[in-house]
């Protein structure tokens, strides 16, 4: 088990756009395992590779109560969406902040599993929110960017203060 270092907002590396995964090899399996370990260790329900400074389109998610139903999404693409929902979101890269964000209620995505097989997934509720949040990371977007400039500035300052101490 290896834990990875999670980048903290406003680190500019969080705004890089991730590239497609081409090689489905042992290194990928090892990396995904490390991502899961890091997610569980930090009590998160999702983690995108961008957050650990690897700019590949990889997401791990586990929204189950017993933390034993991890999903790995590689090269996810959004195919369909409908409806609206609101949820108080938090993020391992923005520790200590929870903000209400508008998301699609239902989504359908296409992705590859750890072996490279093409699959589809439909989701609603928390899983849908979580997938959208992590897919944002892959395109370089952190959830606080949905908030006003003023709020973003305030959050930036507080986190920078926190990291100093």
């Amino acid at each position: 088990m290896a834990l990875l270092k999670v980048l903290k907002y406003p680190d500019p590396r969080l705004h890089k756009v991730a590239e497609r995964v081409e090689d489905f090899d042992a290194a990928l399996i090892k990396f995904v395992d490390d991502m899961k370990d890091t997610m569980y260790d930090q009590k998160g329900i999702g983690l995108a590779a961008t957050q650990v400074d690897v700019h590949k389109r990889i997401i791990v998610i586990d929204v189950s109560e017993d933390k034993n139903e991890a999903i790995t999404l590689i090269n996810p693409t959004l195919m369909q969406f409908s409806g609206d929902q609101q949820y108080d979101e938090g993020c391992l890269s923005v520790p200590g902040f929870f903000e209400t964000i508008n998301r699609h209620e239902n989504i359908k995505i296409q992705y590859q599993d750890i072996e490279g097989n093409l699959k589809e997934l439909t989701a609603n509720g928390l899983l849908s929110v979580c997938i959208q949040h992590e897919m944002d990371h892959l395109v370089g977007k952190v959830f606080v960017e949905y908030l006003s400039q003023l709020k973003q500035q305030r959050i930036k300052k507080k986190i920078q203060k926190l990291l100093k101490n």
């Binding site: 996810p76 977007k141 006003s148 400039q149």
Partner: protein, 411 residues
């Protein structure tokens, strides 16, 4: 004269009702009218419409029933603030005009305007601060959320757009054309590090020398940046997906020997491209249908948008646009990006442009696009000095429009 004022009031009324400004002009103006006077009043009035409306409200005890009279008064307030004519002449002319609309209301018009002149300073002081520079509230809220210096952006949108021309290198040189301007007593200044030519004392572009010979094209400095960002080389195949009226298409053809295909969703607007290509002496293929079999080295998606970055040129946008429109534009923009992407070769580049300053149409559309495909990489854009960019957003100022540019490379 009176007739011009009445026509102007009817045009303003229809713009406020959300009709297209160019169509209304065509429908309402006759040969008898002084077109430049009517235009001056309409544009000036609409540019600060909410301000003048609020000022008028302060002088009224109850709402005006006659719409023709209401808009006549709003236009008169614009005239009293901005036209270099004696104030009492303006009042008298408007009173005369009101007699033609409704004889009974001419005393009322006279009283309101004289009252306005008496209280002008007081009224102006209160409202210039409060009316948020004549924009719908949702518009102000959006910019406030997005830009620290949103008030300056609003202010710029209320100024008159400048007239900037691009010299057609294939027909003349800059030096030769500037000589021509001087010979015709047309004043110009070079702006933004002396790179762009701004015409000072002529508004009618057809009166500039060699218009029909295609020596120049009217284009904002911001829009002239697009061709540099596309990283073109001679012999490349290029698709301009939203080509009308042809400003960027003709610019590309002036700079490079490329094979250009032009398309636009509006067949009517395709004719505009043909006219401009012909006038400037360029050749491009006009596509009637978009077929999938062709693959291009470069694709330009200059997408339809709210136009929020060019309000100083299109004053009616502020009145016409509704907040709900933004979602429709978003869907259309994403759809066009996907269409363009399908027609792009591997390692090819696609440039996305809007003339909007709303992040919903720019950053958000880009993010959504990145989520739908797996083979997109963001390309670098070399931002020239003396242009103010925040990330990919060109911030509008007095010298250029507000535009958004994003380059994508296909992996």
């Amino acid at each position: 004269m009176e007739n011009d004022l009445i026509v102007a009031s009817r045009i303003v009324q229809q713009i406020v009702d959300g009709k297209n400004i160019d169509k209304i002009f065509m429908e309402n103006i006759s040969a008898k009218n002084n077109v430049s006077l009517v235009k001056d009043i309409v544009y000036g009035s609409i540019r600060n419409y909410y301000l003048y409306e609020a000022q008028l409200d302060q002088l009224l005890k109850s709402e005006i029933k006659s719409k023709d009279i209401k808009y006549l008064l709003i236009n008169a307030i614009y005239q009293l603030n901005h036209q270099a004519i004696k104030k009492f002449t303006i009042v008298n002319q408007n009173v005369e005009a009101s007699k033609k609309i409704n004889q009974k209301l001419s005393n009322f018009v006279n009283a309101i305007l004289r009252n306005y002149l008496r209280k002008q300073n007081e009224i102006n002081e209160v409202n210039e601060r409060d009316v948020n520079y004549s924009y719908p509230q949702w518009w102000v809220d959006k910019l406030k959320k997005q830009y620290e210096d949103y008030e300056e952006i609003l202010r710029v949108g209320n100024t008159r757009g400048n007239l900037v021309i691009r010299i057609n290198k294939r027909k003349t040189t800059e030096g030769e054309y500037l000589d021509l301007l001087e010979k015709h007593n047309i004043e110009y200044v070079k702006i933004i590090s002396d790179k762009y030519i701004q015409i000072q004392n002529e508004k009618d572009i057809k009166k500039l020398p060699k218009f029909m010979d295609g020596f120049f094209y009217v284009q904002d400095p911001g829009a002239q940046l697009a061709v540099n960002f596309l990283d073109l080389k001679d012999e490349m195949s290029v698709l301009d997906l939203c080509a009308s009226p042809g400003g960027k298409a003709t610019h590309m053809l002036e700079e490079y020997n490329i094979n250009l295909d032009c398309y636009d969703i509006s067949a009517e607007r395709l004719n505009l491209i043909k006219d401009n290509l012909e006038r400037l002496g360029h050749h491009a293929k006009i596509l009637k249908n978009l077929e999938l079999k062709s693959q291009y080295d470069r694709v330009l998606v200059d997408a339809p948008c709210s136009g929020s970055g060019v309000v100083r040129r299109h004053v009616d946008i502020k009145m016409m646009r509704k907040e709900e429109d933004i979602k429709k534009f978003q869907n259309q923009q994403l759809d066009l990006l996907k269409k363009g992407w399908k027609r792009l070769k591997k390692n090819g580049k696609l440039l996305y442009i809007t003339c909007s300053i709303f992040e919903e149409e720019n950053k958000q559309v880009v993010e959504n696009f990145l989520k739908t495909e797996n083979d997109i990489q963001i390309g670098d854009i070399k931002i020239p000095e003396s242009f103010m960019f925040i990330n990919s957003q060109l911030i509008p100022n007095r010298e250029h429009d507000g535009l958004y540019f994003k380059l994508f490379i296909k992996n």
